[in-house]
Symmetry: C2
Subunit: 199 residues, 2 copies
DNA sequence: GTCTATATCAGGATAGAC
DNA sequence: GTCTATCCTGATATAGAC
């Protein structure tokens, strides 16, 4: 079915964004990348802004499958013990640092979004929501590792960890920080925060 | 002397960048902001790239005066004790979070630069250098607080702290994180790292 | 639904007068 | 050194055929 040209276009957009950034997305480039005409893109997505919106949504949805954000493996939703929880926490944080095209595209897109939000207030709402959700998720995982910690302490730790993640992500993407090193830094940060929460 | 139109232009550029980002800098906008014609800008700085280069240099120089990066107050360069050192460390890190136009312009510019470096490899060299210098400076300050810590441990801590700073900076600039909260998070992070280094 | 033009517009850059 | 006027390119968006 050829109507999935839509999908083809969005996949192409994700790749183009990974190469040139949100602000470097040209409709012509995207058309070539997706193997269609620019007119078709306008037909499906109305204008550049619309194309962008759909692409970000597409990337975000796709990311959820990888990050497992509230994924649920169908089977048993039983809360894991502290050991598994810590594993899960590290896993969740490190997932953003992988040498996979999809992950890279996802990281770049979010980075671009965060950077764009500084100048485009319209973007702030969605971004803030997403950030808060992420912080909450991480705080939740931390809470499972250290069930006795207070909510504010958990939130603060989560804010630091996710903040660190965002900073390191940019370094990684700009080639200033090797993946393995990023992993090591994150793991140690997790260790510090967990230890901190046990006091 | 009217040749300080150059300076006027660069100051205007800093303001424009703070509003629209490096990538949103339009020669026309800049001309209006600085109260000159576009032609004059080209006369002084050759082209857009040149204008950008000079502006970044200008902002960077101006920032050094605030950050005191290797500043030196002239008088006595004697190494401060652990108490002062810790003060100095916090001070140095928190200086990037202030509601002053110059500081804001500086933070935004560096953020933009980091984001741009992902897509423009030419920028990576300078950026990596600047980042390394910063990490080294912070590691240095940490070393004065905890003289017994090993160099690798100091570096790792500095990498985490500066990484966190970069992440939080973006959040602050996009209005998602109040200054006071940013300060609190950074202070606690410093505390955690220092404690970590004493073991 | 999809393509081939093509209109339109914004922004970088230059010429030439003063 | 500085301005006014203008050119030129590159990018968004639309018209109309198939």
């Amino acid at each position: 079915m050829a109507t999935d040209r839509r999908r083809t276009i969005l996949e192409g957009a994700a790749r183009v964004i990974a190469r040139h950034g949100v602000r470097g997305l040209r409709m012509e480039t995207l058309a070539t990348e997706a193997g269609v005409s620019t007119a078709l893109i306008y037909y499906h997505f109305k204008d550049r802004a619309g194309t962008l919106r759909h692409t970000l949504e597409f990337i975000s949805d796709r990311a959820d499958r990888y990050t497992g954000d509230g994924g649920g493996e169908g089977g048993g939703g039983s809360t894991p013990g502290p050991h598994d929880a810590r594993q899960e926490l590290e896993q969740s944080l490190l997932l953003e640092f992988q040498e996979l095209p999809e992950v890279r595209e996802n990281s770049i897109t979010w980075g671009e979004l965060r950077a764009s939000a500084i100048f485009e207030p319209e973007l702030r709402g969605d971004l803030a929501r997403a950030t808060l959700t992420r912080i909450h998720d991480v705080a939740d995982l931390l809470g499972r590792v250290r069930p006795t910690a207070t909510a504010p302490a958990l939130t603060a730790s989560a804010e630091r960890l996710t903040g660190l993640l965002e900073g390191l992500s940019t370094r990684w993407l700009s080639g200033a920080l090797p993946l393995s090193h990023a992993h090591a830094l994150v793991r140690e940060a997790v260790a510090l925060e967990i230890e901190h929460l046990s006091r």
